[in-house]
Symmetry: C2
Subunit: 186 residues, 2 copies
């Protein structure tokens, strides 16, 4: 199942829905918990992590790479303050879409409505994968599952965030990686 994100992006470009461009430096936030931020952001360049505090610990929910869309999705959906943080892991260029403009277009154009239906369905199946990852008991198996699905993840992003995303400590991830014979083809 190919990601419908590229179709969405083509549509948004064609209909000129990007509102402004934002430059972030390492450590900057796109949004933070407590803030009501209903925008959608397109990552033109760079990488971000989206995390949440659970019991005083940061927990990575997802990463945003070049070409991805990032949002405080809870805030976008219900218009209330988000619980999420999205932080630049390096210099980023992101382009913003305002919810009001997006929703107006969504109501006006059935083509976008169909596209959006695909996107949300795709997000739901993606979350099912994520849930299965998190339900996997063995840390090495969690690593393997995610690595097979998104090997590129491990190029750009510091291991400590990946470890956190995989629900393990950086020490455990390091030991797992050293235990697995390196693939000569990569």
């Amino acid at each position: 199942m190919p990601s419908p994100i590229t179709d969405l992006h083509a549509y948004l470009e064609a209909h000129d829905l990007f509102h402004k461009t934002i430059e972030l430096k390492r450590g900057d936030y796109l949004h933070h918990a407590g803030e009501t931020n209903t925008n959608i952001y397109y990552v033109a360049k760079g990488t971000l992590r989206t995390y949440v505090f659970v019991n005083d610990e940061e927990q990575v929910i997802r990463f945003g790479y070049q070409g991805d869309y990032v949002a405080a999705m809870d805030s976008f959906i219900n218009g209330k303050p988000t619980i999420l943080y999205s932080q630049a892991l390096r210099k980023c260029t992101v382009r913003m879409i305002r919810k009001t403009e997006y929703m107006a277009q969504l109501a006006a154009d059935p083509e976008l409505a169909r596209l959006w239906q695909k996107i949300t369905s795709w997000m739901i199946t993606g979350q099912l994968e994520r849930e299965i990852d998190l339900l996997t008991n063995d840390p090495a198996e969690r690593y393997r599952r995610v690595f097979e699905r998104s090997p590129q993840l491990f190029q750009e992003i510091p291991a400590k965030y990946i470890a956190n995303y995989l629900r393990m400590t950086p020490e455990t991830l390091s030991r797992i990686r050293s235990a697995i014979p390196p693939d000569p083809s990569t």
Copy 2:
């Protein structure tokens, strides 16, 4: 945020989209892995669990109570074989909706389209909650979080399935429950 499920249900009743009624006895399956099942089921009576095999272990993904909708959502979304099992935990009466009929109605009626948009958004925020639950390290804390959100869960469903849903053994759940002083108000 109130669940938009009741609105959906009212709509489906009003437009007579239920195709047939199915009776299940304890242990029966609504669908199983490998099968392509694109139907949506309304739980008129009873309770079910939806689970998936991960590394030869059953892992509960969600429960379906009276008034809920249950589906092999991966199959519904992409039309391919599901990886999910939905099994009756007791005698159930479920009513079926065929995807083809549902999709036809979705394409024909903007009211249903709007309703469906709400439903999918609501599912996405629900999944975010679930993800946070699963990322919580302390088992007692996972229990507390889910219990506060859905206390009714612990009435109908055998503890061993709840434990599995909470990513812990039945022994651990039992010990957590005996450690927490019972609430006299309930």
